[in-house]
Amino acid sequence: MHDTNKDMAEQVIRMSGVNPRKCMKCGKCSGTCPAYDEMEYHPHQFVAMVEKGRIEELMASKSLYKCLSCFACVERCPRNVEPAKLVEAVRLLVIRQQGKNYLKAEDLPALLDEKIPQQALVSAMRKYSK
């Protein structure tokens, strides 16, 4: 395992509070995920890849921004692994870096339509940028 990867894996585990070793690899998270088709790496892969320390690959993936935080995987996991927390932790690892915000404030006006509620803006800003 690459050293920075190993450090980052530990960081992800610490931030998320998730123990990927609890996973029994049943794939229920990916069976239930509504954003599955949008993702390059699926929820069960997040768990497996964090366990194996493949953090850089995850950090480079658009999958990070496809999670809906709907908590279906969290709710239904028989081992209480909470994959969504891993997705969030890896995403934070990216957007906490300088200049790595996925969504920038200046992009917002273009995305707005008349009906969009504050809730959507705040959520997106919280999820996609720091």
Partner: protein, 260 residues
């Protein structure tokens, strides 16, 4: 019955109806909603990382303010309810977060999760009671076939939210019965509406909405109700083929109580 009330930012802007009808109905039901002074935006999403303390503080302030008033904290928006309930759970059960948050806030008395966070629907069920609500209805919405769209935030994770059976909830259906209409149970009622992904990937959100609408239409719903402004937005603005009218549940409540 007096509650501290946390409206949240969307209810002050794009979702004014959700708030307005809730207040009118509460008044009709003898429930007093005392809006917290100086509340701040809850952040809309629950920050899942253990080291996210600052982003939880506005929720803790609201919770502590309700504690000071010795009142339960009433919520209406699903997102606010989700964030407040989960942060409250952290303050109760996660020592690390509790200590750090209290260190930041320096309240007169440390906040340790004492406040009960109650959603408006829970208030209707547990405080007013659906039977009493039924009696208070002056204008029963007879013959209307209404699908309840729960979404994610009220239900999951069920261990913390403890709102209803997360996979087969009944609270909104019971509400619909109480206001005299016919609930239509459809399987996708606890699926995700697409949420904030609408900002980044409209097509993905549309896909979610289509599936939900299909399911609702197929099972015979003629209109949908929700408690969440973001669900409202997605179901309304991102529905492509099927389009059912979507309303806030409080609007129908006000209608049934004759205070609309």
């Amino acid at each position: 019955m007096n509650f501290s009330y946390y409206p949240g930012c969307t209810l002050k802007t794009k979702a004014k109806e959700l708030d307005m009808y809730a207040r009118k109905s509460a008044e009709a039901l003898g429930v007093t909603m005392e809006e917290l002074e100086n509340w701040q935006c809850c952040g809309a999403v629950y920050p899942m990382a253990e080291d996210e303390i600052a982003t939880k503080l506005s929720a803790v302030r609201a919770l502590a303010a309700a504690k000071e008033k010795k009142q339960d904290l009433l919520t209406l928006c699903s997102a606010c309810h989700h964030v407040l309930k989960r942060v409250n759970d952290d303050m109760k059960n996660n020592e690390y977060i509790r200590t750090r948050a209290n260190n930041y806030l320096k309240l007169d008395e440390a906040y340790e999760g004492e406040t009960n966070v109650v959603h408006y629907l829970e208030m209707l069920r547990d405080t007013v009671g659906f039977d009493n609500l039924k009696k208070a209805v002056v204008n029963p919405l007879k013959g209307r076939k209404i699908g309840a769209f729960y979404g994610c935030l009220l239900l999951r994770p069920s261990g913390v939210m403890a709102f209803d059976n997360a996979e087969n909830p009944t609270i909104i259906e019971d509400f619909i019965k109480a206001i005299g209409a016919t609930p239509v149970v459809f399987p996708c009622r606890n699926e995700c509406c697409g949420g904030y992904i609408a900002m980044d990937d409209k097509a993905a959100a549309q896909k979610q909405v289509e599936r939900i609408m299909d399911s609702a239409v197929e099972h015979g719903a003629e209109e949908l109700i929700t408690a969440c402004p973001l669900c409202m937005y997605n179901l309304d603005a991102n529905a492509t083929c099927h389009k059912l009218p979507v309303r806030y549940f409080t609007e129908l409540l006000a209608e049934a109580l004759g205070v609309k």
